[in-house]
């Protein structure tokens, strides 16, 4: 109880300094949470595009970005013909720009693709997809920001397309994308006879290992990965994750420096008090516990505040129409735990030098000269 009083009394006595330190940790945690959650959300959405009604992705071996992957139509047909395969859908990804919109994702898909067949059509008829080479279907958000309606013609990149429908999906990338037939996309992106990936659904999930082995033997330039395996290993995702944690880590490091500064000031202004504790039997460990306790309190309180601020910020982002579907504000409990632990560790690391300094204070000198 006295331990707690010693900790809280000091924090209360220097409340502005404590609050600044707490705010530093809070904003660091909020920044980390926001960046990591947004990027993980984005990764999740991109993964879900690939795993739409499938469990295996086939793409060109050793490419760092799926936009540069080339899988031949012939390979797609051979894979689709395998006995273990329920269906194999080639998908061609491309990025174009239109006036005022520098990035629009295009999906070249077959008429049987789950994106076309299972999405909610807000306008148009799914049966009319692929009737004409210049027909496109827009995601709801794309239709909104391109101000296009069914029946209208619109310029996308170097070509003009006829909008035959608008569909709604839960995926931000798809919702902001343009769907065209695979052959149209191949022509438009000058990738005749190829697709970016093949999404494969098997009759029996237990056949995945055998299927992967078959692909490896028959198509040495291709690789087949399960969805989860792909999400873990895809270099772009790894770079994004590493970037997110690095940015968040830098924020937390700054917060930690704030705590360190606060704790150093705290110790320097309490040398006499620490000497009194020593004279009254406090061990080095107990002195250290008081200093680390203060730091832990600031860190945990700051982290809690940061989680709250970060959650509110993510919710606010979700309400911005331009980001609709791109931001998944769901904060995973594990991420919360990791962020809390990191904040605590940062705070404790920040208190390391001050604690060592406090433990080394010689009571006799502090009491004589203070």
């Amino acid at each position: 109880m006295i331990f707690l009083k010693l900790i809280l009394t000091n924090l209360r006595q220097h409340r502005i300094r404590s609050l600044i330190s707490l705010a530093g940790i809070a904003f660091s945690v909020a920044a980390m949470l926001t960046v990591v959650t947004i990027l993980q959300g984005a990764i999740g959405m991109f993964s879900s595009i690939l795993s739409n009604d499938s469990e295996v992705i086939v793409f060109e071996r050793d490419v760092s970005d799926l936009f540069f992957s080339n899988v031949s139509t012939d390979a797609a047909e051979q894979i689709a013909a395998m006995p273990s395969v329920a269906h194999a859908d080639p998908v061609l990804f491309g990025i174009v720009s239109s006036e005022g919109h520098p990035i629009i994702t295009c999906f070249g898909v077959t008429p049987g693709d789950a994106r076309i067949q299972k999405a909610q059509w807000l306008a148009g008829d799914r049966g009319s997809f692929a009737r004409h080479a210049d027909d496109v279907v827009l995601g709801a958000r794309a239709a909104d920001f391109l101000q296009a309606t069914t029946g209208s013609h619109m310029q996308i990149g170097h070509a003009t397309f006829h909008v035959i429908g608008v569909l709604k999906t839960a995926n931000g990338f798809e919702d902001g994308g343009v769907f065209m037939t695979l052959s149209t996309a191949q022509t438009f992106f000058h990738k005749q006879g190829t697709s970016s990936v093949i999404t494969v659904k098997l009759h029996n999930k237990d056949d995945v290992a055998a299927f992967k082995q078959t692909v490896k033997l028959k198509f040495p330039n291709l690789i087949a990965l399960e969805d989860a395996e792909f999400t873990r290993s895809y270099s772009q995702f790894r770079i994004l994750k590493a970037t997110a944690w690095a940015v968040g880590g830098c924020g937390l490091l700054l917060g930690g420096l704030g705590v360190a500064n606060t704790m150093i000031m705290s110790v320097f202004t309490r040398i006499r008090e620490i000497a009194i504790l020593r004279v009254n039997g406090f061990s080095h460990t107990q002195i250290g516990a008081v200093i680390f306790g203060e730091s832990a309190f600031v860190s945990i309180a700051g982290a809690m505040a940061g989680l709250l601020v970060g959650s509110c910020f993510l919710d606010a982002l979700k309400m911005i129409p331009a980001l609709g579907g791109y931001v998944d504000p769901t904060i995973h409990p594990l991420l919360m735990l990791v962020v809390l632990l990191l904040a605590l560790l940062t705070g404790l690391a920040g208190a390391l030098y001050p604690a060592i300094y406090a433990m080394r204070i010689r009571a006799v000198e502090a009491l004589r000269f203070e």
Partner: protein
């Protein structure tokens, strides 16, 4: 009044300094120059001498707060050095009272007094009972919940006495315990100190300038020029 010789013969030596040397400023200021001193169990001893003669330094060495450059310090027969458990010494064997009360200003009187019990891991209930007992004896029962800033100088020093006695130390080291108080408060605090030490059966070693107070101790040890010049009977 019993003689020093009687004490030494009949009682165990609890504090002993053997040829203790200490200097400051890299040897420029020699404070202790071969001090030899023995204090027996249960004695009240006044350590007198001019400012800077080394009284406080000797006191701090007995409490393990400072170390001699040469010579040895023994507490309860065991040498005080780095190998010895200094924390145990401060928690259970020695209670300090300083000229300045050295209380933590933002804690209450009760919290300040409980600090040694927290350090020693004494049961909270037992600690509170002990606090109530000491507060009663020192007339501070009505001030237990008050912060130190709200107390008078005499009350602060009485609080320091309570804190020093909380863990029932066998030795009390008092460094000018009444030096910052006026006459009445000084007498009151000193009476309390003698009373507490007597009833607890503790040994008191007190550095003081006040000859009148020193005269009321069992022994008077005079320090001069870094040495014990005489062991005089007080009173």
């Amino acid at each position: 009044m019993r003689s020093t010789a009687e004490y030494i013969e009949r009682r165990k030596t609890v504090l002993r300094a053997e040829n203790v040397w200490k200097s400051y400023d890299e040897g420029a200021v020699a404070v202790l120059k071969g001090v030899d001193c023995e204090i027996s169990e249960g004695q009240t001893v006044a350590l007198c001498g001019a400012s800077g003669c080394g009284k406080s330094t000797l006191l701090h060495m007995f409490g393990g707060l400072d170390t001699p450059e040469k010579g040895r310090i023994f507490v309860n027969g065991a040498p005080v050095n780095r190998k010895r458990e200094l924390v145990h010494l401060l928690r259970h064997e020695i209670g300090f009272v300083f000229q300045l009360h050295n209380l933590i200003p933002n804690l209450t009187l009760a919290d300040n007094c409980l600090i040694p019990t927290v350090a020693a891991g004494i049961d909270r209930r037992i600690a509170k009972e002990r606090l109530e007992e000491l507060a009663e004896r020192t007339g501070l029962s009505h001030r237990l919940g008050h912060r130190i800033q709200k107390l008078s100088g005499g009350e602060r020093q009485r609080t320091a006495l309570c804190r020093a006695m909380m863990n029932r130390p066998r030795i009390v080291l008092a460094d000018e315990p009444t030096g910052s108080l006026d006459g009445d408060s000084s007498n009151m605090v000193f009476e309390l100190l003698l009373d507490l030490v007597a009833t607890e059966g503790a040994t008191l070693l007190m550095a003081t300038h006040d000859r009148a107070l020193a005269a009321r101790c069992d022994r008077l040890v005079e320090m001069h020029d870094g040495k014990i010049r005489e062991h005089a009977h007080a009173g």
